[in-house]
């Protein structure tokens, strides 16, 4: 039995089920990260002093550029698919996947330098919230990479069987990926600059 409304829009909402589903998921993600940002505010306002300059601003800035670039390539992957340019779609999706990997490699170097100095999450309140927020964000990057790897690899065959459904999947993956970028846009100034 086929799952209804994977491509066609529901008469009541005017949306495919996946579209509404991904937005409701993102709404729950807003609350998840919102709770952690709220925790950050409580910890920061309650602390007698707050450290500055503990993080490498330039590495954080490079990672911001990487995620912004990956958002552009992700939306281009969707746009090229809509324009029926399969090869360019795959190129942009693979570039997005690679950029996500580069982000994680940078994060690995950043984490390693902290741990080498014995500065784990237990070291201070600031580092505890830093590792929690960036660790959770990093897990979201990994999750996005898993989905992208599927769409680049075995999931790509869906395009031959049901191209509209595949375009929708790329769109939903893009929405998730832009949200991950959006979270980092706020994490970068809050953790690295302020």
């Amino acid at each position: 039995m086929n799952i209804p409304y994977t491509v066609e829009e529901r008469p009541d909402s005017g949306l495919a089920n996946g579209k509404l589903g991904i937005w409701l998921f993102l709404a729950s993600e807003v609350m998840l990260f919102g709770a952690l940002f709220s925790t950050y505010i409580i910890l920061r306002t309650g602390a007698p002093e707050w450290p500055h300059g503990e993080l490498n601003i330039w590495l954080g800035m490079i990672n911001t550029f990487i995620l912004i670039a990956s958002s552009v390539t992700m939306v281009m992957a969707w746009a090229e698919l809509k324009l029926h340019n399969w090869a360019r779609h795959r190129m942009f999706l693979i570039v997005t996947f690679v950029l996500a990997g580069v982000f994680l490699v940078n994060k690995y170097f950043e984490y390693s330098s902290h741990f080498a100095k014995g500065e784990g999450p237990w070291h201070s309140t600031f580092l505890a919230i830093y590792f929690t927020l960036t660790g959770l964000h990093g897990l979201h990057i990994v999750g996005g990479m898993v989905v992208m790897a599927y769409l680049i690899g075995p999931g790509a065959s869906l395009f031959k069987r049901n191209p509209d459904q595949f375009v929708n999947r790329i769109e939903y993956t893009g929405l998730y990926w832009h949200f991950v970028d959006l979270v980092w846009i706020f994490l970068f100034p809050v953790l690295y600059l302020l």
Partner: protein, 114 residues
Amino acid sequence: MHSDPEAIKRSVRLYFMIGAALFVCTGITVAVNQVHLAVPLAITVALIIASIKGSMVASVFMHLSHEKRWIYGALILTVLFFIVLMSVPMFTVGDSIGTPIGAANASHAQPPER
């Protein structure tokens, strides 16, 4: 959401322009940080720039500028709950307004003498 090829081709140019604008805004955020403003002003400036960047991503990349009513409805509800969530720390700050610094903690640490 655009579906005709001409509209998508026009959007492609917009995507690259927004990407460039996001790069510039990130550069401005870091440059402002190098000026060493007072902390409240620095927080305000950084969060304003981050909000501008976030709204560009949401409206253009996530196509929120032309979405269906159901999605706007879900997001308005999310924003309301998010505001409540962000207000929670304000209540804790409000509890200590007018209390000398450290007095609130001291009163919890030591039981009152009889």
